[in-house]
Symmetry: C2
Subunit: 325 residues, 2 copies
Protein backbone atom coordinates (compact mmCIF):
# COMPACT_ATOMS: atom_id res chain seq x y z
CA UNK A 1 0.00 0.00 0.00
CA UNK A 2 1.75 3.16 -1.17
CA UNK A 3 1.78 6.08 1.28
CA UNK A 4 0.01 8.45 -1.06
CA UNK A 5 -3.09 6.31 -1.58
CA UNK A 6 -6.45 7.74 -0.55
CA UNK A 7 -9.87 6.32 0.13
CA UNK A 8 -13.18 7.64 1.37
CA UNK A 9 -14.18 5.78 4.53
CA UNK A 10 -17.89 5.78 5.35
CA UNK A 11 -19.53 4.82 8.63
CA UNK A 12 -23.22 4.16 7.93
CA UNK A 13 -25.04 4.02 11.24
CA UNK A 14 -28.65 4.26 12.37
CA UNK A 15 -28.51 7.95 13.26
CA UNK A 16 -25.64 9.40 11.22
CA UNK A 17 -23.55 8.87 8.14
CA UNK A 18 -19.92 9.88 8.56
CA UNK A 19 -17.53 10.22 5.63
CA UNK A 20 -13.80 10.90 5.80
CA UNK A 21 -10.94 11.29 3.35
CA UNK A 22 -8.31 8.92 4.73
CA UNK A 23 -4.78 8.28 3.51
CA UNK A 24 -2.90 5.00 3.64
CA UNK A 25 -1.21 6.06 6.88
CA UNK A 26 -4.62 6.29 8.56
CA UNK A 27 -4.71 10.09 8.69
CA UNK A 28 -7.99 11.90 8.21
CA UNK A 29 -7.64 14.85 5.83
CA UNK A 30 -11.24 16.04 5.84
CA UNK A 31 -14.62 14.79 7.01
CA UNK A 32 -18.33 15.35 6.77
CA UNK A 33 -21.29 14.13 8.81
CA UNK A 34 -24.96 14.02 7.87
CA UNK A 35 -28.02 12.51 9.54
CA UNK A 36 -29.04 9.09 8.19
CA UNK A 37 -32.80 9.68 8.27
CA UNK A 38 -33.34 6.03 7.49
CA UNK A 39 -37.11 6.56 7.56
CA UNK A 40 -36.80 8.14 4.08
CA UNK A 41 -35.76 4.76 2.67
CA UNK A 42 -32.81 3.19 0.90
CA UNK A 43 -32.75 5.45 -2.17
CA UNK A 44 -32.62 8.55 0.02
CA UNK A 45 -29.69 7.06 1.95
CA UNK A 46 -27.84 6.39 -1.32
CA UNK A 47 -28.48 9.96 -2.50
CA UNK A 48 -27.31 11.35 0.83
CA UNK A 49 -24.07 9.34 0.59
CA UNK A 50 -23.51 10.45 -3.02
CA UNK A 51 -24.12 14.13 -2.25
CA UNK A 52 -21.84 14.02 0.81
CA UNK A 53 -19.10 12.22 -1.08
CA UNK A 54 -19.31 14.72 -3.97
CA UNK A 55 -19.11 17.58 -1.48
CA UNK A 56 -16.11 16.04 0.35
CA UNK A 57 -14.21 15.24 -2.86
CA UNK A 58 -15.19 18.58 -4.43
CA UNK A 59 -13.58 20.43 -1.50
CA UNK A 60 -10.41 18.32 -1.96
CA UNK A 61 -9.92 18.26 -5.71
CA UNK A 62 -6.16 17.75 -5.39
CA UNK A 63 -6.71 14.35 -3.79
CA UNK A 64 -7.17 11.31 -6.01
CA UNK A 65 -9.52 8.90 -4.26
CA UNK A 66 -8.92 5.34 -5.41
CA UNK A 67 -11.71 3.53 -3.59
CA UNK A 68 -14.60 3.80 -1.16
CA UNK A 69 -15.02 1.66 1.95
CA UNK A 70 -18.27 1.54 3.84
CA UNK A 71 -18.95 -0.02 7.23
CA UNK A 72 -22.62 -0.84 7.80
CA UNK A 73 -24.37 -1.54 11.10
CA UNK A 74 -25.78 -4.89 10.00
CA UNK A 75 -25.17 -8.28 8.42
CA UNK A 76 -23.14 -7.89 5.28
CA UNK A 77 -21.65 -10.18 2.65
CA UNK A 78 -18.29 -8.55 1.96
CA UNK A 79 -17.78 -10.52 -1.27
CA UNK A 80 -21.09 -9.61 -2.94
CA UNK A 81 -21.39 -6.28 -1.11
CA UNK A 82 -25.00 -7.07 -0.28
CA UNK A 83 -26.43 -5.85 3.03
CA UNK A 84 -28.60 -8.74 4.19
CA UNK A 85 -30.12 -7.21 7.25
CA UNK A 86 -29.56 -3.87 8.93
CA UNK A 87 -32.50 -3.36 11.32
CA UNK A 88 -31.47 0.12 12.52
CA UNK A 89 -31.24 1.29 8.90
CA UNK A 90 -34.39 -0.49 7.72
CA UNK A 91 -32.36 -2.31 5.04
CA UNK A 92 -32.99 -5.86 3.89
CA UNK A 93 -31.07 -7.54 1.06
CA UNK A 94 -29.91 -4.40 -0.74
CA UNK A 95 -27.07 -4.38 -3.27
CA UNK A 96 -25.14 -1.60 -1.59
CA UNK A 97 -21.81 -2.22 -3.34
CA UNK A 98 -23.35 -2.38 -6.83
CA UNK A 99 -25.60 0.62 -6.27
CA UNK A 100 -22.96 2.83 -4.67
CA UNK A 101 -20.23 2.09 -7.20
CA UNK A 102 -22.67 2.96 -10.02
CA UNK A 103 -23.34 6.31 -8.31
CA UNK A 104 -19.77 7.13 -7.27
CA UNK A 105 -17.86 5.68 -10.25
CA UNK A 106 -15.24 4.16 -7.93
CA UNK A 107 -14.64 0.66 -6.56
CA UNK A 108 -16.74 0.25 -3.40
CA UNK A 109 -16.06 -2.27 -0.62
CA UNK A 110 -18.70 -3.07 1.97
CA UNK A 111 -18.16 -4.54 5.42
CA UNK A 112 -19.79 -4.72 8.81
CA UNK A 113 -19.29 -1.59 10.97
CA UNK A 114 -17.65 -3.46 13.86
CA UNK A 115 -15.25 -5.16 11.47
CA UNK A 116 -14.44 -1.76 9.94
CA UNK A 117 -13.59 -0.45 13.42
CA UNK A 118 -11.42 -3.53 13.99
CA UNK A 119 -9.56 -2.82 10.74
CA UNK A 120 -8.92 0.68 12.05
CA UNK A 121 -7.57 -0.49 15.42
CA UNK A 122 -5.52 -3.23 13.73
CA UNK A 123 -3.69 -0.94 11.34
CA UNK A 124 -3.57 2.35 13.19
CA UNK A 125 -4.72 1.84 16.79
CA UNK A 126 -3.89 -0.50 19.65
CA UNK A 127 -3.61 -3.49 17.34
CA UNK A 128 -0.70 -2.19 15.24
CA UNK A 129 1.69 -4.95 14.11
CA UNK A 130 -0.28 -7.60 15.97
CA UNK A 131 -1.22 -10.88 14.23
CA UNK A 132 -3.55 -12.26 16.91
CA UNK A 133 -5.96 -9.82 18.46
CA UNK A 134 -9.60 -9.42 19.32
CA UNK A 135 -11.48 -6.12 19.52
CA UNK A 136 -14.50 -6.05 21.80
CA UNK A 137 -16.74 -3.01 21.42
CA UNK A 138 -19.17 -2.54 24.29
CA UNK A 139 -21.75 0.12 23.54
CA UNK A 140 -25.51 -0.25 23.33
CA UNK A 141 -24.77 -3.74 22.00
CA UNK A 142 -21.57 -5.81 22.06
CA UNK A 143 -19.68 -6.59 18.86
CA UNK A 144 -16.28 -7.93 18.00
CA UNK A 145 -13.67 -8.38 15.34
CA UNK A 146 -11.03 -11.11 15.35
CA UNK A 147 -7.58 -11.11 13.75
CA UNK A 148 -5.99 -14.57 13.93
CA UNK A 149 -2.73 -15.53 12.27
CA UNK A 150 -2.59 -12.10 10.61
CA UNK A 151 -6.02 -12.29 9.00
CA UNK A 152 -9.47 -10.95 9.77
CA UNK A 153 -11.77 -13.90 10.45
CA UNK A 154 -14.94 -13.86 8.36
CA UNK A 155 -16.23 -17.40 8.75
CA UNK A 156 -18.69 -19.04 6.41
CA UNK A 157 -21.22 -16.20 6.20
CA UNK A 158 -19.16 -13.22 7.32
CA UNK A 159 -20.62 -13.72 10.80
CA UNK A 160 -17.40 -14.66 12.64
CA UNK A 161 -16.78 -12.39 15.61
CA UNK A 162 -20.35 -12.14 16.92
CA UNK A 163 -19.02 -12.47 20.44
CA UNK A 164 -21.83 -10.37 21.88
CA UNK A 165 -23.99 -13.40 21.24
CA UNK A 166 -22.00 -16.00 23.13
CA UNK A 167 -24.05 -17.42 26.01
CA UNK A 168 -22.61 -16.54 29.40
CA UNK A 169 -25.69 -17.29 31.52
CA UNK A 170 -27.66 -20.35 30.48
CA UNK A 171 -31.40 -19.52 30.60
CA UNK A 172 -30.47 -15.93 31.51
CA UNK A 173 -32.30 -12.77 30.41
CA UNK A 174 -33.75 -12.52 26.89
CA UNK A 175 -31.49 -11.14 24.20
CA UNK A 176 -32.66 -9.23 21.13
CA UNK A 177 -31.24 -12.05 19.00
CA UNK A 178 -33.80 -14.57 20.27
CA UNK A 179 -31.40 -16.43 22.57
CA UNK A 180 -31.06 -16.01 26.34
CA UNK A 181 -28.15 -14.96 28.56
CA UNK A 182 -25.94 -13.61 25.76
CA UNK A 183 -22.89 -11.52 26.71
CA UNK A 184 -24.72 -8.52 25.20
CA UNK A 185 -27.90 -9.27 27.18
CA UNK A 186 -25.81 -9.11 30.38
CA UNK A 187 -23.37 -6.26 29.76
CA UNK A 188 -24.48 -4.26 26.71
CA UNK A 189 -25.81 -0.74 27.25
CA UNK A 190 -29.43 -1.74 26.61
CA UNK A 191 -29.15 -4.55 29.16
CA UNK A 192 -27.66 -2.24 31.80
CA UNK A 193 -30.52 0.20 31.22
CA UNK A 194 -33.08 -2.63 31.45
CA UNK A 195 -31.64 -3.88 34.74
CA UNK A 196 -31.36 -0.38 36.22
CA UNK A 197 -34.97 0.45 35.37
CA UNK A 198 -36.20 -2.81 36.90
CA UNK A 199 -34.21 -2.23 40.09
CA UNK A 200 -35.39 1.36 40.44
CA UNK A 201 -38.98 0.28 39.86
CA UNK A 202 -38.65 -2.36 42.58
CA UNK A 203 -37.07 0.01 45.10
CA UNK A 204 -37.72 3.68 44.42
CA UNK A 205 -35.83 4.70 47.57
CA UNK A 206 -32.62 2.92 46.56
CA UNK A 207 -33.08 4.25 43.02
CA UNK A 208 -33.53 7.89 44.07
CA UNK A 209 -30.28 9.20 42.58
CA UNK A 210 -30.65 7.24 39.32
CA UNK A 211 -34.17 8.56 38.95
CA UNK A 212 -33.21 12.16 39.58
CA UNK A 213 -30.27 11.94 37.14
CA UNK A 214 -32.79 10.76 34.53
CA UNK A 215 -35.09 13.75 35.09
CA UNK A 216 -37.42 11.63 37.25
CA UNK A 217 -38.48 9.60 34.23
CA UNK A 218 -37.66 5.92 34.80
CA UNK A 219 -37.62 5.27 31.05
CA UNK A 220 -34.85 7.82 30.60
CA UNK A 221 -32.44 5.80 32.76
CA UNK A 222 -29.59 4.58 30.54
CA UNK A 223 -26.19 2.94 31.00
CA UNK A 224 -24.77 6.46 31.14
CA UNK A 225 -27.05 7.31 34.06
CA UNK A 226 -25.75 4.20 35.86
CA UNK A 227 -22.10 5.15 35.35
CA UNK A 228 -22.80 8.72 36.49
CA UNK A 229 -24.49 7.47 39.66
CA UNK A 230 -21.71 4.93 40.28
CA UNK A 231 -19.17 7.73 40.11
CA UNK A 232 -21.13 9.38 42.96
CA UNK A 233 -20.86 6.10 44.94
CA UNK A 234 -24.56 5.34 44.66
CA UNK A 235 -25.04 1.85 46.16
CA UNK A 236 -27.57 0.57 43.63
CA UNK A 237 -25.52 1.81 40.66
CA UNK A 238 -22.29 0.41 42.14
CA UNK A 239 -23.83 -3.05 42.60
CA UNK A 240 -25.05 -2.94 38.99
CA UNK A 241 -21.58 -1.97 37.80
CA UNK A 242 -20.08 -4.91 39.74
CA UNK A 243 -22.51 -7.25 37.99
CA UNK A 244 -21.57 -5.78 34.60
CA UNK A 245 -17.86 -6.21 35.34
CA UNK A 246 -18.41 -9.87 36.29
CA UNK A 247 -20.21 -10.41 32.99
CA UNK A 248 -17.49 -8.66 30.98
CA UNK A 249 -14.83 -10.77 32.71
CA UNK A 250 -16.77 -13.97 31.91
CA UNK A 251 -17.40 -12.99 28.28
CA UNK A 252 -13.80 -11.86 27.83
CA UNK A 253 -12.39 -15.03 29.40
CA UNK A 254 -14.44 -17.06 26.90
CA UNK A 255 -13.06 -14.96 24.05
CA UNK A 256 -9.49 -15.40 25.35
CA UNK A 257 -9.85 -19.18 25.65
CA UNK A 258 -11.57 -19.54 22.28
CA UNK A 259 -9.28 -17.33 20.18
CA UNK A 260 -6.06 -17.14 22.21
CA UNK A 261 -5.23 -13.53 21.23
CA UNK A 262 -2.00 -11.68 22.08
CA UNK A 263 -3.99 -8.47 22.57
CA UNK A 264 -7.55 -7.91 23.71
CA UNK A 265 -8.68 -4.40 22.80
CA UNK A 266 -11.74 -2.79 24.35
CA UNK A 267 -13.71 0.09 22.87
CA UNK A 268 -17.22 1.52 22.97
CA UNK A 269 -19.19 3.88 25.20
CA UNK A 270 -19.48 1.58 28.21
CA UNK A 271 -15.69 1.29 28.41
CA UNK A 272 -15.33 5.04 28.63
CA UNK A 273 -18.11 5.44 31.22
CA UNK A 274 -16.90 3.19 34.04
CA UNK A 275 -13.63 4.24 35.72
CA UNK A 276 -10.88 1.63 36.16
CA UNK A 277 -12.95 -0.83 34.11
CA UNK A 278 -9.98 -1.99 32.06
CA UNK A 279 -7.89 -2.70 35.18
CA UNK A 280 -10.75 -4.67 36.69
CA UNK A 281 -11.16 -6.69 33.49
CA UNK A 282 -7.44 -7.41 33.34
CA UNK A 283 -7.39 -8.61 36.94
CA UNK A 284 -10.48 -10.76 36.31
CA UNK A 285 -9.40 -12.48 33.12
CA UNK A 286 -5.93 -13.18 34.52
CA UNK A 287 -7.71 -15.01 37.34
CA UNK A 288 -10.34 -16.85 35.30
CA UNK A 289 -9.04 -17.48 31.77
CA UNK A 290 -6.57 -20.33 31.11
CA UNK A 291 -3.07 -19.51 32.35
CA UNK A 292 -1.48 -20.52 29.03
CA UNK A 293 -3.80 -18.10 27.23
CA UNK A 294 -3.10 -15.09 29.44
CA UNK A 295 0.66 -15.39 29.94
CA UNK A 296 1.52 -13.06 27.07
CA UNK A 297 -1.86 -11.33 26.83
CA UNK A 298 -2.11 -7.54 26.74
CA UNK A 299 -5.38 -5.77 27.62
CA UNK A 300 -5.61 -2.39 25.89
CA UNK A 301 -8.10 0.38 25.24
CA UNK A 302 -9.10 1.13 21.65
CA UNK A 303 -7.35 4.34 20.66
CA UNK A 304 -9.12 5.59 17.54
CA UNK A 305 -12.41 6.17 19.41
CA UNK A 306 -15.02 7.69 17.09
CA UNK A 307 -12.61 7.66 14.13
CA UNK A 308 -12.18 3.87 14.06
CA UNK A 309 -15.21 3.39 11.78
CA UNK A 310 -14.20 5.76 8.96
CA UNK A 311 -10.45 5.06 9.20
CA UNK A 312 -11.17 1.32 9.29
CA UNK A 313 -13.61 1.38 6.37
CA UNK A 314 -11.09 3.30 4.25
CA UNK A 315 -8.27 0.92 5.25
CA UNK A 316 -10.46 -2.08 4.44
CA UNK A 317 -11.13 -0.59 1.00
CA UNK A 318 -7.43 0.09 0.27
CA UNK A 319 -6.44 -3.41 1.46
CA UNK A 320 -9.24 -5.08 -0.50
CA UNK A 321 -8.32 -3.19 -3.67
CA UNK A 322 -4.68 -4.19 -3.26
CA UNK A 323 -5.74 -7.80 -2.77
CA UNK A 324 -7.92 -7.69 -5.90
CA UNK A 325 -5.34 -6.11 -8.22
Amino acid sequence: MSVNQWAVGIDLGGTKIELALVDSSGHIHDRIRVPTESKDGYKAILTRIKDSSDQLCGKNKDINVSSIGIGVAGQVNKTSGIVHYAPNLGLHDVKLQENLSALLHKPVFVCNDVKAATWGEWYFGSGKNCNDMVCIFIGTGIGGGVISGGRMLDGCNNTAGEIGHTTILLDGPDCHCGNKGCFEAMAGGWAIARDARALVKADMKAGKLLLSLAGNDINQITAKTVSEAAQKDDALACSLVEKVINSIVAGSSSVINAFGPCRLIFGGGIMEGIPHLLNRIEKGVKKYALKAATQALEILPATLHNDSGVVGAATFAMKSQLHKS
Copy 2:
Protein backbone atom coordinates in the same frame (compact mmCIF):
# COMPACT_ATOMS: atom_id res chain seq x y z
CA MET B 1 1.76 -33.66 -0.70
CA SER B 2 2.63 -36.60 -2.97
CA VAL B 3 0.43 -39.71 -2.65
CA ASN B 4 3.26 -42.01 -1.67
CA GLN B 5 4.40 -40.01 1.35
CA TRP B 6 4.36 -41.71 4.73
CA ALA B 7 4.48 -40.57 8.32
CA VAL B 8 4.19 -42.16 11.73
CA GLY B 9 1.28 -40.61 13.63
CA ILE B 10 1.43 -40.89 17.41
CA ASP B 11 -1.36 -40.28 19.89
CA LEU B 12 0.20 -39.78 23.32
CA GLY B 13 -2.54 -40.03 25.94
CA GLY B 14 -2.70 -40.55 29.68
CA THR B 15 -3.38 -44.30 29.47
CA LYS B 16 -2.05 -45.42 26.08
CA ILE B 17 0.37 -44.52 23.34
CA GLU B 18 -0.90 -45.35 19.87
CA LEU B 19 1.35 -45.31 16.80
CA ALA B 20 0.27 -45.79 13.18
CA LEU B 21 1.92 -45.80 9.78
CA VAL B 22 -0.21 -43.40 7.77
CA ASP B 23 0.04 -42.46 4.10
CA SER B 24 -0.76 -39.10 2.57
CA SER B 25 -4.25 -40.30 1.66
CA GLY B 26 -4.99 -40.86 5.34
CA HIS B 27 -4.88 -44.66 5.17
CA ILE B 28 -3.45 -46.62 8.10
CA HIS B 29 -1.09 -49.33 6.93
CA ASP B 30 -0.12 -50.75 10.31
CA ARG B 31 -0.46 -49.80 13.97
CA ILE B 32 0.75 -50.54 17.44
CA ARG B 33 -0.54 -49.66 20.90
CA VAL B 34 1.29 -49.70 24.23
CA PRO B 35 0.36 -48.51 27.72
CA THR B 36 1.73 -45.07 28.64
CA GLU B 37 2.64 -45.90 32.25
CA SER B 38 3.32 -42.22 32.84
CA LYS B 39 4.24 -42.98 36.47
CA ASP B 40 7.59 -44.26 35.15
CA GLY B 41 8.48 -40.74 34.06
CA TYR B 42 9.36 -38.84 30.91
CA LYS B 43 12.44 -40.86 29.91
CA ALA B 44 10.48 -44.11 30.08
CA ILE B 45 7.77 -42.59 27.85
CA LEU B 46 10.44 -41.55 25.31
CA THR B 47 11.94 -45.07 25.35
CA ARG B 48 8.51 -46.64 24.95
CA ILE B 49 7.81 -44.42 21.91
CA LYS B 50 11.21 -45.21 20.39
CA ASP B 51 10.84 -48.98 20.88
CA SER B 52 7.30 -48.97 19.47
CA SER B 53 8.33 -46.87 16.49
CA ASP B 54 11.31 -49.13 15.78
CA GLN B 55 9.04 -52.16 15.99
CA LEU B 56 6.43 -50.61 13.66
CA CYS B 57 8.99 -49.44 11.10
CA GLY B 58 10.95 -52.72 11.40
CA LYS B 59 7.82 -54.66 10.43
CA ASN B 60 7.36 -52.35 7.42
CA LYS B 61 10.85 -51.98 6.01
CA ASP B 62 9.53 -51.28 2.48
CA ILE B 63 7.94 -48.06 3.69
CA ASN B 64 10.01 -44.89 3.79
CA VAL B 65 8.78 -42.78 6.68
CA SER B 66 9.50 -39.10 6.09
CA SER B 67 8.35 -37.60 9.38
CA ILE B 68 6.76 -38.22 12.77
CA GLY B 69 3.74 -36.36 14.10
CA ILE B 70 2.73 -36.58 17.72
CA GLY B 71 -0.45 -35.33 19.35
CA VAL B 72 -0.12 -34.77 23.10
CA ALA B 73 -2.90 -34.43 25.67
CA GLY B 74 -1.68 -31.09 27.00
CA GLN B 75 -0.50 -27.57 26.29
CA VAL B 76 2.04 -27.58 23.51
CA ASN B 77 4.06 -25.02 21.59
CA LYS B 78 3.96 -26.37 18.06
CA THR B 79 6.82 -24.15 16.91
CA SER B 80 9.34 -25.12 19.59
CA GLY B 81 7.84 -28.59 20.09
CA ILE B 82 7.91 -28.09 23.86
CA VAL B 83 5.15 -29.64 25.97
CA HIS B 84 4.41 -26.97 28.56
CA TYR B 85 1.94 -28.83 30.70
CA ALA B 86 0.37 -32.26 30.32
CA PRO B 87 -1.16 -33.13 33.70
CA ASN B 88 -2.37 -36.61 32.73
CA LEU B 89 1.14 -37.48 31.53
CA GLY B 90 2.97 -35.81 34.40
CA LEU B 91 4.92 -33.66 31.94
CA HIS B 92 5.99 -30.09 32.53
CA ASP B 93 8.13 -28.08 30.08
CA VAL B 94 9.77 -31.00 28.28
CA LYS B 95 11.50 -30.65 24.91
CA LEU B 96 9.54 -33.44 23.25
CA GLN B 97 10.34 -32.49 19.64
CA GLU B 98 14.08 -32.14 20.27
CA ASN B 99 14.31 -35.32 22.36
CA LEU B 100 12.20 -37.47 20.03
CA SER B 101 13.91 -36.39 16.83
CA ALA B 102 17.30 -37.19 18.43
CA LEU B 103 16.02 -40.68 19.22
CA LEU B 104 14.16 -41.37 15.97
CA HIS B 105 16.47 -39.57 13.51
CA LYS B 106 13.49 -38.09 11.65
CA PRO B 107 11.82 -34.68 11.69
CA VAL B 108 9.27 -34.64 14.54
CA PHE B 109 6.27 -32.31 14.76
CA VAL B 110 4.39 -31.87 18.03
CA CYS B 111 0.84 -30.65 18.48
CA ASN B 112 -2.03 -30.83 20.92
CA ASP B 113 -4.07 -34.08 20.73
CA VAL B 114 -7.38 -32.35 20.02
CA LYS B 115 -5.78 -30.30 17.24
CA ALA B 116 -4.32 -33.53 15.80
CA ALA B 117 -7.82 -35.06 15.76
CA THR B 118 -9.09 -31.91 14.05
CA TRP B 119 -6.37 -32.24 11.38
CA GLY B 120 -7.61 -35.81 10.81
CA GLU B 121 -11.26 -34.82 10.44
CA TRP B 122 -10.32 -31.83 8.27
CA TYR B 123 -8.34 -33.82 5.71
CA PHE B 124 -9.96 -37.24 5.80
CA GLY B 125 -13.16 -37.06 7.84
CA SER B 126 -16.28 -34.91 7.93
CA GLY B 127 -14.29 -31.76 7.31
CA LYS B 128 -12.94 -32.70 3.89
CA ASN B 129 -12.62 -29.73 1.52
CA CYS B 130 -14.06 -27.36 4.09
CA ASN B 131 -12.35 -24.03 4.82
CA ASP B 132 -14.41 -22.99 7.82
CA MET B 133 -15.16 -25.67 10.36
CA VAL B 134 -15.04 -26.34 14.07
CA CYS B 135 -14.56 -29.76 15.67
CA ILE B 136 -16.00 -30.18 19.16
CA PHE B 137 -14.88 -33.32 20.98
CA ILE B 138 -17.01 -34.14 24.01
CA GLY B 139 -15.48 -36.90 26.10
CA THR B 140 -14.36 -36.73 29.72
CA GLY B 141 -13.46 -33.12 28.92
CA ILE B 142 -14.45 -30.86 26.02
CA GLY B 143 -11.89 -29.74 23.46
CA GLY B 144 -12.01 -28.13 20.07
CA GLY B 145 -10.12 -27.32 16.92
CA VAL B 146 -10.94 -24.46 14.59
CA ILE B 147 -10.27 -24.12 10.86
CA SER B 148 -11.05 -20.60 9.63
CA GLY B 149 -10.35 -19.33 6.13
CA GLY B 150 -8.59 -22.62 5.32
CA ARG B 151 -6.15 -22.49 8.26
CA MET B 152 -5.95 -24.09 11.70
CA LEU B 153 -6.20 -21.35 14.30
CA ASP B 154 -3.38 -21.40 16.84
CA GLY B 155 -3.65 -18.00 18.47
CA CYS B 156 -0.86 -16.32 20.38
CA ASN B 157 0.15 -19.29 22.55
CA ASN B 158 -1.28 -22.23 20.62
CA THR B 159 -4.28 -22.07 22.92
CA ALA B 160 -6.93 -21.09 20.34
CA GLY B 161 -9.83 -23.54 20.31
CA GLU B 162 -10.17 -24.10 24.06
CA ILE B 163 -13.93 -23.97 23.67
CA GLY B 164 -14.47 -26.34 26.60
CA HIS B 165 -13.50 -23.39 28.75
CA THR B 166 -15.98 -20.84 27.49
CA THR B 167 -18.33 -19.76 30.29
CA ILE B 168 -21.92 -20.81 29.67
CA LEU B 169 -23.22 -20.41 33.24
CA LEU B 170 -21.90 -17.40 35.11
CA ASP B 171 -21.03 -18.47 38.69
CA GLY B 172 -21.92 -22.05 37.76
CA PRO B 173 -20.21 -25.23 39.01
CA ASP B 174 -16.44 -25.29 39.52
CA CYS B 175 -14.32 -26.32 36.54
CA HIS B 176 -10.94 -28.07 36.78
CA CYS B 177 -9.42 -25.00 35.08
CA GLY B 178 -10.16 -22.76 38.07
CA ASN B 179 -13.08 -20.93 36.47
CA LYS B 180 -16.80 -21.62 37.04
CA GLY B 181 -19.60 -22.67 34.71
CA CYS B 182 -17.37 -23.65 31.77
CA PHE B 183 -18.94 -25.61 28.89
CA GLU B 184 -16.85 -28.59 30.06
CA ALA B 185 -17.99 -28.20 33.68
CA MET B 186 -21.59 -28.47 32.44
CA ALA B 187 -21.46 -31.12 29.71
CA GLY B 188 -18.12 -32.95 29.88
CA GLY B 189 -18.10 -36.58 31.02
CA TRP B 190 -16.64 -35.75 34.43
CA ALA B 191 -19.32 -33.13 35.02
CA ILE B 192 -22.10 -35.53 34.05
CA ALA B 193 -20.68 -38.11 36.48
CA ARG B 194 -20.42 -35.46 39.23
CA ASP B 195 -24.05 -34.37 38.74
CA ALA B 196 -25.33 -37.96 38.56
CA ARG B 197 -23.57 -38.95 41.78
CA ALA B 198 -24.92 -35.89 43.60
CA LEU B 199 -28.48 -36.59 42.42
CA VAL B 200 -28.30 -40.26 43.37
CA LYS B 201 -26.91 -39.37 46.79
CA ALA B 202 -29.77 -36.92 47.33
CA ASP B 203 -32.46 -39.37 46.22
CA MET B 204 -31.43 -43.03 46.40
CA LYS B 205 -34.88 -44.17 45.29
CA ALA B 206 -34.83 -42.14 42.05
CA GLY B 207 -31.21 -43.21 41.52
CA LYS B 208 -31.88 -46.94 41.93
CA LEU B 209 -31.18 -47.92 38.33
CA LEU B 210 -28.06 -45.75 38.04
CA LEU B 211 -26.74 -47.24 41.24
CA SER B 212 -27.37 -50.82 40.19
CA LEU B 213 -25.77 -50.24 36.76
CA ALA B 214 -22.70 -49.02 38.64
CA GLY B 215 -22.47 -52.17 40.77
CA ASN B 216 -24.08 -50.39 43.73
CA ASP B 217 -21.02 -48.18 44.14
CA ILE B 218 -22.00 -44.52 43.79
CA ASN B 219 -18.43 -43.58 42.89
CA GLN B 220 -18.54 -45.91 39.90
CA ILE B 221 -21.36 -43.90 38.26
CA THR B 222 -20.02 -42.36 35.05
CA ALA B 223 -21.40 -40.53 32.02
CA LYS B 224 -21.69 -43.97 30.40
CA THR B 225 -23.89 -45.18 33.27
CA VAL B 226 -26.12 -42.15 32.69
CA SER B 227 -26.50 -42.83 28.96
CA GLU B 228 -27.22 -46.51 29.65
CA ALA B 229 -29.92 -45.63 32.16
CA ALA B 230 -31.37 -42.97 29.84
CA GLN B 231 -31.68 -45.57 27.11
CA LYS B 232 -33.83 -47.56 29.57
CA ASP B 233 -36.02 -44.43 30.06
CA ASP B 234 -34.84 -43.89 33.63
CA ALA B 235 -36.40 -40.58 34.75
CA LEU B 236 -33.38 -39.25 36.65
CA ALA B 237 -30.96 -40.13 33.84
CA CYS B 238 -33.28 -38.65 31.21
CA SER B 239 -33.55 -35.35 33.09
CA LEU B 240 -29.76 -35.23 33.36
CA VAL B 241 -29.42 -35.90 29.62
CA GLU B 242 -31.84 -33.04 28.90
CA LYS B 243 -29.69 -30.72 30.99
CA VAL B 244 -26.57 -31.86 29.14
CA ILE B 245 -28.24 -31.27 25.77
CA ASN B 246 -29.22 -27.73 26.83
CA SER B 247 -25.63 -27.04 27.79
CA ILE B 248 -24.27 -28.47 24.53
CA VAL B 249 -26.75 -26.34 22.55
CA ALA B 250 -25.66 -23.22 24.47
CA GLY B 251 -21.94 -23.97 24.09
CA SER B 252 -22.35 -24.82 20.42
CA SER B 253 -24.41 -21.70 19.70
CA SER B 254 -21.60 -19.62 21.20
CA VAL B 255 -19.07 -21.41 19.00
CA ILE B 256 -21.24 -20.85 15.91
CA ASN B 257 -21.68 -17.14 16.63
CA ALA B 258 -18.00 -16.63 17.48
CA PHE B 259 -16.42 -18.52 14.58
CA GLY B 260 -19.19 -18.69 11.94
CA PRO B 261 -18.24 -22.15 10.62
CA CYS B 262 -19.77 -23.85 7.57
CA ARG B 263 -19.54 -27.19 9.37
CA LEU B 264 -19.72 -28.06 13.05
CA ILE B 265 -18.34 -31.55 13.65
CA PHE B 266 -18.97 -33.47 16.87
CA GLY B 267 -16.87 -36.33 18.17
CA GLY B 268 -16.00 -37.97 21.46
CA GLY B 269 -17.51 -40.61 23.74
CA ILE B 270 -20.49 -38.56 24.95
CA MET B 271 -21.65 -38.06 21.36
CA GLU B 272 -21.75 -41.78 20.76
CA GLY B 273 -23.50 -42.56 24.05
CA ILE B 274 -26.67 -40.48 23.77
CA PRO B 275 -29.05 -41.45 20.95
CA HIS B 276 -30.33 -38.71 18.62
CA LEU B 277 -27.98 -36.23 20.30
CA LEU B 278 -26.82 -34.74 17.00
CA ASN B 279 -30.40 -34.13 15.82
CA ARG B 280 -31.25 -32.48 19.11
CA ILE B 281 -28.17 -30.25 18.88
CA GLU B 282 -29.01 -29.29 15.30
CA LYS B 283 -32.58 -28.37 16.23
CA GLY B 284 -31.31 -26.38 19.23
CA VAL B 285 -28.61 -24.35 17.53
CA LYS B 286 -30.87 -23.55 14.57
CA LYS B 287 -33.25 -22.05 17.14
CA TYR B 288 -30.73 -20.22 19.32
CA ALA B 289 -27.68 -19.25 17.22
CA LEU B 290 -27.85 -16.22 14.90
CA LYS B 291 -29.88 -16.92 11.76
CA ALA B 292 -27.15 -15.57 9.47
CA ALA B 293 -24.67 -17.96 11.09
CA THR B 294 -26.81 -21.10 10.73
CA GLN B 295 -28.26 -20.61 7.24
CA ALA B 296 -25.57 -22.66 5.51
CA LEU B 297 -24.37 -24.56 8.59
CA GLU B 298 -24.00 -28.33 8.52
CA ILE B 299 -23.90 -30.35 11.77
CA LEU B 300 -21.98 -33.61 11.28
CA PRO B 301 -20.56 -36.47 13.32
CA ALA B 302 -16.79 -36.99 13.34
CA THR B 303 -16.09 -40.01 11.15
CA LEU B 304 -12.54 -41.12 12.00
CA HIS B 305 -13.48 -42.05 15.59
CA ASN B 306 -10.48 -43.52 17.42
CA ASP B 307 -8.25 -43.12 14.34
CA SER B 308 -8.53 -39.34 14.21
CA GLY B 309 -5.58 -38.87 16.62
CA VAL B 310 -2.98 -40.93 14.75
CA VAL B 311 -4.20 -40.03 11.25
CA GLY B 312 -4.35 -36.36 12.24
CA ALA B 313 -0.90 -36.35 13.88
CA ALA B 314 0.62 -37.94 10.75
CA THR B 315 -1.18 -35.48 8.48
CA PHE B 316 -0.04 -32.57 10.62
CA ALA B 317 3.55 -33.83 10.29
CA MET B 318 3.34 -34.22 6.49
CA LYS B 319 1.74 -30.78 6.10
CA SER B 320 4.25 -29.13 8.44
CA GLN B 321 7.17 -30.70 6.61
CA LEU B 322 5.80 -29.52 3.27
CA HIS B 323 5.39 -26.05 4.70
CA LYS B 324 8.97 -26.04 6.02
CA SER B 325 10.64 -27.28 2.83
